[in-house]
Amino acid sequence: MEQLVFYSLGLGAVIGALGVVTAKNPILSVLSLLWTFFCLACVYLLIGFEFLAVAQILVYAGAIMVLFLFVIMLLNLGTSEAADFDTARAMGRRLPLVLLVGCTLAALSILAAQQVGGTSDEARADLRSVGSLTDLAQVMFGTYLLAFEAASILLLAGTVAVVMLAKRERRKNAA
């Protein structure tokens, strides 16, 4: 039963991800992304990470998605903007290559998964115990404190980069 739910959620996530890149309408794209996030949140729930699942819904599906929608509506991006780049045809031409790479990777992953020495039930039970908020806080601000701080520098650099790229040039370059 658990396996069945997992696989259907996984399939849902993949279909959603495909929708993000193939949809012509940006709104549809965003909605597909939302669906993908929702499926992932359910996967987190399934493996016992309740807080992560809730955070995923709140932060990604809630806040970030609304931002995306806002930007798209503000910029008034319709289907017409993207019409000169025919995504479906471009994908169609590269389909054999995409399929080849994808299938090879999938086959290798499945082969690898079959050959894995195995995770015991104890290890699984061990994993399940780390889902609570306290554990997460311990990990985030204890064990991985430095990585947490490094991530904040990363976000700052990202913000500056975006501002730099998006702000209007006041003067043309001399060259």
Binding site: A112, A113, Q115, G117, L154, A157, R171, N173, A175
Partner: protein, 494 residues
């Protein structure tokens, strides 16, 4: 509380760089974007302070901080390398004639941010921090590559870089998640050490059952390093990004960013396969990873050199040449011995002098002629003799001819390759060097053997002085490589 304060000392260079980056940002705001030269000088001063701290650390016993950062000589070597190349890049930015010196405070912020990323990358055995450092470096590089956003080529370069970078980071992350799934840890030393009795199986346990999952994970992780070093088949971004990005950024990507990739790869392989507590079955597996790297090395240098021959743009030519050099460096890595790693590190040091010099010439030449095509070089040697003679020196070094540091670096790499029994690889590399002679000397021929063009070029004393220093050092260390070799030997990983 002390548990958090105490290890901060070990992180002093990283913290200082972060402060400098924020300082550059604030300073630019205070200057109201009038002239950002001052921010450049501020960056240089902070880099100098970081360099002094790092110099004082050489020779200290390795320590760890926050269970993730390892402060050892190997890391310090590459941190010094980064700081030194960043200082030169900053001078390049300051003397770039194509750059308006207004509103470019973010330039310095992003350069320093990239350096913080490199600092994390080169001093950790923890895959999480490695990934974060790599992403920080990549993110800053994407923005830097597209810094001239009004120019089509620069925008295109940034876009291509983002797509390729995102793809290979994703692939690498997938590989890391496989490794984590197999071993239950992200720490490379732990990974190599676990006996495989506990669950999950651990690397050793998995290798005794079946090597397929480990092989898959390994190939995927190596893809991430290959992208940073621009090793075939992850090199496609290199020529376009090098050509489109502002030349100082290209210099940064070619020298500091590539060195970071090499350093991270050396540490990854060193901790996983060559450490003191490594399980024997894991160490044996390292040899086959070495075989894979040897094949990559041969393909990379051949493709880089053959493509370089057909280029008409100097920046593209140097891009392919940097791909070829990634191949040469991989010879040392592929031997999977301490001596081979030493040769690779020495070659990185050699690469520093000759590539910074060559890109410095490109910057100067681009600034005076407004083009980077090799055709435009005709007779340039008579117009700007000193700087052209320096360029010829760098070209000789890049080819690997005596009496330059490039020759000694290549000699070490070939020697280690032969010692490790990889005769075919050294043969391929030697043939490649002959090929590279052809296209490097095409530039030299353009500079001096064509009839002189009329007109003079503007003088930039500071910049010319920098190139002269690099040129003198290229020859000096070529004749007397002991100083650098001694330095590298003090900073070995294994």
């Amino acid at each position: 509380m002390d548990a958090y304060i105490e290890p901060l000392k070990a992180l002093a260079p990283e913290l200082l760089l972060t402060a400098a980056a924020l300082g550059a940002l604030v300073l630019d705001l205070l200057m109201r974007g009038r002239d950002s030269r001052f921010v450049g000088y501020f960056t240089l001063v902070s880099l100098a302070i970081v360099a002094i701290i790092l110099m004082n650390r050489i020779g200290d016993e390795p320590t760890a901080a926050f269970g993730m950062v390892v402060v050892d000589n190997f890391g310090t070597f590459f941190k010094l390398f980064t700081v030194a190349s960043l200082a030169v890049v900053t001078i390049f930015v300051l003397s770039d004639r194509n750059e308006s010196h207004h509103h470019i405070g973010e330039y310095y912020f992003l350069l320093l941010g990239a350096a913080i990323g490199i600092f994390f990358m080169v001093s950790t055995n923890h895959l999480l921090l490695l990934m974060l450092g790599l992403e920080l470096l990549s993110l800053a590089s994407y923005a830097l590559a597209g810094f001239h956003k009004g120019e089509r080529k620069s925008a295109e370069a940034a876009m291509k870089y983002v797509v390729f970078g995102g793809l290979s980071a994703g692939v690498m992350l997938y590989g890391i998640s496989l490794l984590y799934g197999l071993t239950g840890t992200l720490d490379l030393v732990e990974m190599a050490k676990s006996t495989g009795e506990a669950m999950p199986a651990g690397l050793a346990g998995q290798l005794t059952t079946s090597a397929v999952p480990v092989a898959l994970a390994m190939v995927l992780v190596l893809a991430g390093f290959a992208y940073k070093m621009s090793v075939v088949p992850f090199h496609f971004w290199t020529p376009d990004v090098y050509e489109g990005a502002p030349t100082p950024v290209t210099t940064f990507l070619a020298v500091a960013s590539k060195a970071a990739g090499v350093a991270a790869l050396l540490r990854f392989l060193g901790a996983l396969f060559l450490g003191p507590d490594v399980q024997s079955v894991v160490a044996e597996y390292g040899a086959s990873v070495g075989q894979l790297l040897a094949i990559l090395a041969a393909v990379t240098m051949t493709l880089g050199n053959l493509s370089a021959m057909r280029q008409t743009s100097l920046k593209r030519l140097l891009a392919y040449s940097s791909i070829a050099h990634a191949g040469y460096i991989l010879i040392g890595v592929a031997t999977m011995t301490g001596a081979g790693f030493e040769a690779a590190m020495f070659y990185m040091a050699a690469y520093y002098f000759m590539n910074l010099g060559a890109f410095g010439f490109v910057l100067y030449f681009e600034g005076t002629l407004g083009s980077d095509s090799i055709e435009a070089l005709k007779g340039y040697g008579f117009k700007a003799p000193l700087i052209s003679i320096a360029m010829v020196t760098f070209l000789v070094s890049l080819t690997g001819l005596p009496p330059t540091i490039g020759f000694y670096g290549k000699y070490l790499l070939f020697k280690e390759g032969l010692d490790a029994g990889m005769y075919w690889l050294v043969g391929v590399a030697a043939l490649n060097s002959v090929v590279s002679l052809f296209y490097y000397f095409r530039i030299a021929k353009m500079l001096f053997l064509k009839e002189p063009a009329s007109g003079s070029v503007p003088r930039q004393p500071l910049f010319a002085g920098l190139l002269a220093v690099l040129c003198v050092l290229t020859i000096y260390f070529g004749l007397l490589p002991d100083a650098i070799q001694e330095f590298v030997r003090n900073c070995l990983l294994i």
